[in-house]
Amino acid sequence: MQSRFEQGVNRIVRLGRKGCDVMEALGRAGLFLGQSAVGVPSREGWYLWLRQMHFVGVLSLAIVVVSGLFIGMVLALQGYTILVDFGAEQALGQMVALSLLRELAPVVAALLFAGRAGSALTAEIGLMKATEQLTSMEMIGVDPLRRVIAPRLWAGFVALPILTVGFGVVGIWGGYLVGVQWLGVFEGSYWSNMQASVSFVSDVGNGMIKSLVFAIVVTWIAVFQGYDLVPTSEGISRATTRTVVYSSLAVLGLDFVLTAVMFGGL
């Protein structure tokens, strides 16, 4: 029978151990990113990167483009019903373009990317670990960080900003379809209001910076969760879930911080 005092001490000990575990995981993740992202890719490495670009980027294009189209269309539809009350439906282009470029394109593309590509990366690397492919690579003198991890990281870093551009372009086009072709906003004011209010550096540029930050965070989380999981079938499923949950939370949280810094006048 433990005394109350001992129970209290044990609780504090457990809390401390948990804190140490979190710190260790963060440290491992940081070292992992540092070790795998640096290093000049060889010719072979370049080709590995290309293959990952195909999987992570090209094959994600369809879902990103279709979502972008529908989000642009819905923005135009919703915006029109509100703006028309104030007789300001000419500002539709401005509203669609600014909300897409500043917020929706980087955030939604990153969320879709986490679901479509991030989870697959985690599961793939996790299965490699569970079937001891990573260990065997080390046995034959191939560094798995450079052979397996680095191409996937770099593919993610490059692919997500490109997907974000695609999302924005298709979204603006979707807004044009609904606003101009269907609801009858004057085409000239759709584009000219947009051009008058969107600035390339502070809107498109900041959106791209956001998207690059999201790309680094989402790919990092996905690849690290795969590399660091418990190598069992349950471990893989847990890690895949964690990838999607952590990346979504990180993207939404970082988005608030970045928006506050970029557009909030901080």
């Binding site: 007789g87 695609g166 008058a196 969107v198 390339f200 498109v204």
Partner: protein, 154 residues
């Protein structure tokens, strides 16, 4: 490792699509022009009240856009707003010294812009000159206040 031409082609196409998309965002959406920034010259104008005028607002003449608002500062000498305009250099030496600048509104709730109209002075405004004859923005609250106080005094 087996090389696949179609995959390489797909990735190339993907990257190219990204670049084209960025160009579209630059040219069509944010209205950058490929041509080198055209020659401009600068004019200042002091307004008693600029209302909701913002940097990058249009400067028009007879409805035609001839430039943009570059910056808006508070002039601490006169305690009014000093608006710096960038106009196309085609107009340099073409605007008379008594040109007036007015802050106008597009529609009832639309964006505010500056309208210039020329006078008849033979002297012309040069780069860096100040437009003296200005008309402030129409502030709806002030107008209503005036109207109400007129009603009360009648």
């Amino acid at each position: 490792m087996k090389r696949s031409k179609t995959m390489e082609f797909g990735v190339g196409l993907f990257m190219l699509a990204g670049i084209i998309g960025l160009v579209f965002l630059g040219l069509r959406v944010s209205g950058l022009s490929l041509a080198a920034p055209s020659e401009t010259f600068r004019l200042d104008a002091n307004f008693a009240n600029i209302g909701g005028l913002k940097p990058r607002a249009r400067v028009t003449m007879a409805g035609v856009t001839v430039g943009r608002v570059e910056s808006i500062d508070l002039d601490t000498e006169w305690y009014d707003a000093k608006v710096t305009l960038r106009l196309d250099s085609g107009l340099e030496g073409q605007l008379s010294r008594d040109t007036t600048a007015a802050i106008l509104t597009a529609g009832l709730l639309g964006e505010q812009y500056i309208g210039l109209s020329v006078g008849g002075d033979p002297d012309m405004l040069a780069d860096g000159d100040t437009i003296r004859d200005t008309q402030s923005a129409l502030v709806l609250e002030e107008l209503i206040q005036q109207f109400v106080s007129n009603m009360a005094s009648n």
